[in-house]
Symmetry: C4
Subunit: 243 residues, 4 copies
């Protein structure tokens, strides 16, 4: 009997590892790589006027990471996406807080690596890849983050959660939405759409001006998406009325 019980024990450990530990580690590692590439591409872009470099780097890194890690953790790498996925029925509650903590930690590690490898004077010129508000009207900046995050989370929910519209190309769609949004709103709010992307460099560069915008805007956008998907856009399983 003992060997059997031992095997059960191992099976249980393996299941806990695969269901809870591995996904959280994947969220940490993925957010780290995303923030490392994102911050470095912004920092390297100083002096040029166009948003191409950060727009494409953020979008491609995110698309590739979701493609690789989506089967394990869902591939969120973004607290607003995790919240939205939970509220639309795409993940369990138990993982929500651990995911968000893993993402915030991953953002800090990624931003630290960016700081480590980039020349200090370049790093300083770009506030370490932390987000800088370019307008005085903070309501406007928050609104911009909200609309863009709404677009992003809509693509997550429709492409990866809602059965009727699910597609294996969802990872690319999500990444390329980030690219399009940075082209659209990069000069207004930085087109962050991701509290972990904002938090990591803010800690490492100790730059906290208007940091709340990058939590309020993305979470507001995620809640807008939840409303749209749950009431209007979802299929009969996702929608909560007219089913």
């Amino acid at each position: 009997r003992e060997p059997a019980s031992e095997k059960d024990n191992t099976n249980k450990k393996t299941c806990i590892f695969e269901q809870y530990v591995q996904p959280c580690l994947v969220e940490l590692l993925g957010t780290m790589l995303f923030v490392f590439v994102g911050c470095s591409s912004v920092i390297g872009n100083v002096g040029t006027t166009s948003a191409i470099q950060p727009a494409v780097a953020h979008g491609l890194a995110l698309a590739v990471l979701i493609m690789m890690f989506g089967q394990i953790s869902g591939g969120h790498f973004n607290p607003a996406v995790s919240l939205c996925a939970y509220l639309c029925g795409g993940m369990e509650l138990l993982l929500l807080v651990p995911y968000i903590l893993a993402q915030m930690l991953g953002g800090m590690v990624g931003a630290s690596f960016a700081r480590a490898v980039l020349p200090p004077e370049v790093y300083a010129n770009s506030t370490g890849g932390a987000l800088v508000v370019l307008s005085n009207d903070l309501a406007i900046v928050t609104l911009a983050e909200m609309i863009m995050t709404m677009f992003l989370t809509l693509v997550v929910c429709m492409g990866a959660i809602n059965s009727q519209t699910q597609t294996p190309m969802a990872p690319f769609c999500i990444g390329l939405t980030v690219t399009a949004n940075i082209f659209a709103g990069g000069m207004v709010s930085g087109a962050c759409m991701n509290p972990a992307r904002a938090f990591g460099p803010a800690v490492v560069a100790n730059h906290w001006d208007h940091h709340w915008i990058y939590w309020v805007g993305p979470i507001g956008g995620a809640l807008l998406t939840v409303t749209f998907v749950r009431f209007v856009l979802g299929d009969r399983k996702t929608r909560i009325w007219l089913k």
Copy 2:
């Protein structure tokens, strides 16, 4: 009997919602997001000479939106595409006018959001993302819009309607055709190819110079495509002769 009849009633409501209301709302929301990203990317591009930013932003936003919403509404977001899809047998007549109205309204809302979030002086410099004719010869500009829309609607009809050549990559093909066309004709006519994209910012910025070109050109291009597909390019089901 009453509960059964009530259930019938609910079923009927659900069907009407899914067949008519949801698609129109999706066209409105999708066109809004497309025009918001499109206008913002044009406005943010002022001062640079290249068309990369608007070309890539328009193309990727459109590709992603069609990928997400194509299963629900077909993912037109463009009156010329809706007309062409109807005439090639890809949608029912009943939805044509509601779709076009939803797209025009979506264009206005998207352009309003772009106006709301962008700095006023930047907004003014770029005529609010409204299309500006760069040549004095209006026939030439109309011809350019016609050829480019012909290319775009050809990709819609061959990739998404004509059975022989249908492909799940059609959304990306359609979006990337827009990108290629903006690289080709952005400096001639703005490479609009979409009356709703022209109409929304025209209302919001009150800029109506030569606005008719962005209806006549795209609709002419769509009719050219219908002729090609119905007579030459379609398969036996789509072609109206030699079958």
Copy 3:
């Protein structure tokens, strides 16, 4: 009996149309749209130093056109590709000359449309999108065209003809190879890789300097690919030895 014979007659006409007429018309139309977008993107690029605009426009337009028309004609739009496809067993001999003539005619029509819609002074500055040799050493330029066309036709043969390595993503692979090659060799030889792309604008702009390079280089590259594929890279069906 007569109605049956009439029906046979129609069937025969339909078959001839679908096997010979439709593919040639598709090659003409596709090459026209490719050359129109290609020439216009080059012409619109004058004054900027980078190759991004023509590289991406040529690549995307080609990828989309092959995705749309590949099921009908194979989607060559390039005499060197047609030659290579025939020699690797990917098309029948009867279509080779009609395809090449259709591609040359398509190139002329596409270049004419580019001339029609672009401002005359811009058109003149860029030699109408015709290819201009940037080096004095013509052997070097021919070698560059040969290597790049070898890469391009290798992707065509391995991705679309050779069974072992065929992929539904071949159209995108072919288009993106053109993009990569223009980034690599655009400043040496123009990275044409396509006699029809060279011929059309040469006729319309009456610019024939070193035009032979854009036939000799690409055809040489295609023959190199045929050698590699038939002797080394092909699967047992394609390879002509060790099978």
Copy 4:
């Protein structure tokens, strides 16, 4: 009996050809084309400040080559990738050294072709596409190569070897990771991530400053990936514990 034995003999030759000779030739040819496009795009980029041209050219060329040749050799074109694939269970030991030699030879041939076709003064200005360290702190440069190669090889192992996360889009994911990494670290270390890419141009341009970094960094990154995949990220078949 003799004819049968002769046929056996041919079969054996064919098998050896297909299992050992063809894959090595494919690695040589693929690395040659990758390094040719990569070096030429860097050389043609001199004078512009942005990394777009080399980032996109390297990424697309690599994606296309893996898509074409992955079925034959795995499509490594990179000694660090071959090492990582072997250690994660994705290739047999017998091929490891021949692959690495083929890749180094391919890199030399590709760099020679780039030297042959590019104008000599342009070639000299860019050190022939060889990698140039832009920082004095060599540990930092090595760290940057290590992190970026970790990202790249992670995508290789998770997308192409680990069963749970395998995807037919892996070739594009791998290529686009290279693009994102060049945007991120191009200005620090050149974002090489590939000893063969460094070795070829170093031989041809005889430029050996700090060449060891492009072996130590990528191999370190590959070993990091092996650790992560074997202990944490792999599925039950790939993981070496908790199975």
